[in-house]
Every structure is written in C-alpha cells, then in structure tokens.
C-alpha cells in the first residue's frame, strides 16, 4: 500500500504559479474587452440620447457618467492594491506583488481622470474649477500616493524587496480611502452626500441611474481587462529579467 503525498493542485495553487495564472486568465481578455466595448457603447447611447437633463444641473449631469465611475475606480483600484499588499506580506502569494505593481499606474490614471472631470463639472455647477474641500483634497492626496508608489517600484532593482516596501507603503496609504469616502459627512463641502448607495435607496431618477450604472460597469470591466493584461506583461518582464541574468552569467 502506498500513500499519495503529492499535494493536490487547488485553484489557489494554480493561481500562485505565474505561468498557470497567465494560462488560466489569458482566455478571459478578449471576452472581457468585447463586453467592455458593448457596455461603453450602451452607456454612451443612454447617457447622450436616452437620459434627460437634470432639473438643477441641466445637461452638465452627463459629466457624472464619466466622473462617478472614474472616482469609484480611483478607490476600488487602491482597495485592490491594499488586498494585494496583504497577499504579499501575510500569504507571500507570488502573484500579489504582480497585481500591486500592475494596478498602480491604472489607479493613478483613473484618479487623474476623476479630478479632471470633477473640475470641469464644478465650474458650471459651483462656479469654480477647484475648491480645497475634504473630498477633492483627499482625492488629490490619493493621486500623489499612487505616483509615489509607481516611483517606489522603479526605485528598486530587486522587485521582491520592492514588493515588501511598496506593500507597507500601500497599507499605510489605505487610511486615505475612508477619509475620501466619509469626507462629505465629516466636513462642510461643496460635494453632495451619497446619493446612490444609501440605506433608503438612490435619490436619483431611473433614467439617470441607468446610464450611470452602465458606465460604472463599463469602466470596472475596462479596469479588470487592463489589470489582467498588465499582470501578464509583468510576468513576462520578470521572465525577461531571469533570462537576461542567466545570459549574463553565460548559462544561456
């Protein structure tokens, strides 16, 4: 009688191997890209041709269909990075730091877009492009944190060492996320309080909520698609580093 001591390949084991991760997730890219394209087309159609001007803001409400999803992603991407940072520090998951590194520039771009669209929405509705209120200031701080993380990754040759430093920095920076979220409740601000995700339901009419939700999913699926593609690229980049080092030692 023999006892089989070979560890079973669970999905967690498979995802922790970079090659297996790429092989498992590569077939998802094209369907995700197609779904994203369809959602953007539908969101733009609803946003421009099927939703009415808002009672007080008029047509400028249409800026919300790009502002709110990018603002949501600026925080969601950071939450993804914070969970990945825990994966690096606690579980030492090999794909966690790949996920952290891939997400940082995407988060920075979405945060910059949220600030850009917010200032363009603020000028006609509040009369100013910028106000140093809690929500806008903490979102600007978030952009600087993202840029700091991107710079930190580039400052290290040893990416495993960089991962631990970036993971700690990311977890410290995560304190800014609840500040962004609750800033409209804690401080006097030009921003309105939550009007979609509320205990008593959304305060917006359905014809404005529909394009908002469609664009919300379009941007979210775009992030998932780009994140997977960027993770595949990072896996290949590490393979290149390994091969180049091997070649430099004359082992190739």
């Amino acid at each position: 009688m023999t006892i089989d001591t070979t560890p079973k390949m669970t999905w967690w084991n498979r995802l922790s191997h970079p090659g297996q991760f790429v092989a498992l997730t590569r077939p998802l890219i094209l369907p995700l890209a197609l779904l994203t394209g369809v959602l953007f087309a539908a969101g733009l159609w609803y946003g421009f041709f099927s939703s009415p001007p808002e009672k007080y803001m008029g047509d400028t409400v249409r800026i919300m269909y790009v502002h709110v999803p990018t603002a949501w992603l600026s925080q969601f991407v950071y939450a993804t990075m914070a969970v990945s940072a825990l994966g690096t520090l606690v579980w030492r998951h090999p794909m966690a730091d790949v996920s952290m590194k891939a997400a940082a520039p995407l988060g920075a771009a979405f945060t910059a877009m949220a600030l850009f669209t917010g200032s363009l929405w603020g000028r006609p509705t509040w009369g100013t492009f910028w106000e140093w209120d809690g929500r806008m200031t903490s979102t600007l701080v978030l952009l600087f944190i993202y840029l700091g993380i991107v710079a930190l990754w580039r400052a290290f040759d040893d990416q495993l060492r960089a991962a631990r430093v970036v993971a700690i920095f990311t977890l410290v920076g995560a304190v800014n996320i609840p500040i962004i979220k609750f800033s409209v409740d804690w401080w006097s601000t030009l921003h309105q309080p939550a009007s979609v995700f509320r205990a008593d339901g959304p305060t917006m009419p359905g014809e404005i909520l529909t394009p908002l939700f469609v664009m919300f999913f379009a941007f979210t699926f775009l992030f998932i698609t780009l994140q997977l593609a960027a993770m595949h690229t990072e896996v290949r980049r590490r393979r290149i580093t390994t091969l180049e080092r091997r070649a430099a030692r004359g082992e190739a």
């Binding site: 090659g19 008029g58 800026i63 790009v66 877009m113 850009f116 669209t117 363009l120 593609a229 393979r239």
Partner: protein, 54 residues
C-alpha cells in the same frame, strides 16, 4: 448630435479628456505587452506561450 445646452464645452471637454486618457492607457498596455513578447522571442524563450516565469 444632441444639443448639450449652455455648458456644452465643459461636457465635451470632460468626455474628450477621459477618452483620450483611456486611449493612452489602452495603447500603453498593448505596447508594453508587445515589447515584452518581442523581447522574450529575441531571448529564445520556449516558455513564452504560457508566460511561465522564474
């Protein structure tokens, strides 16, 4: 094209900025992917098809 009211320039600028940003983000992601694939081919990596690392 629908009428966008008195603040059309703000709406158009917001959408143009976001879609330019998205185009740049997608372009950068695709370009980086192609560059790494090409470099792996130059290095003669026989595991490049499944992306195996280390």
């Amino acid at each position: 094209m629908i009428a966008l009211g008195a603040h059309a320039e703000f709406i158009i600028s917001a959408y143009a900025g976001v879609f330019l940003g998205l185009a740049a983000l997608i372009g950068w992601t695709v370009l980086a992917a192609r560059q790494t694939k090409r470099r792996l081919e130059e290095l003669g990596d026989n595991q490049r098809s499944n992306g195996s690392a280390q």
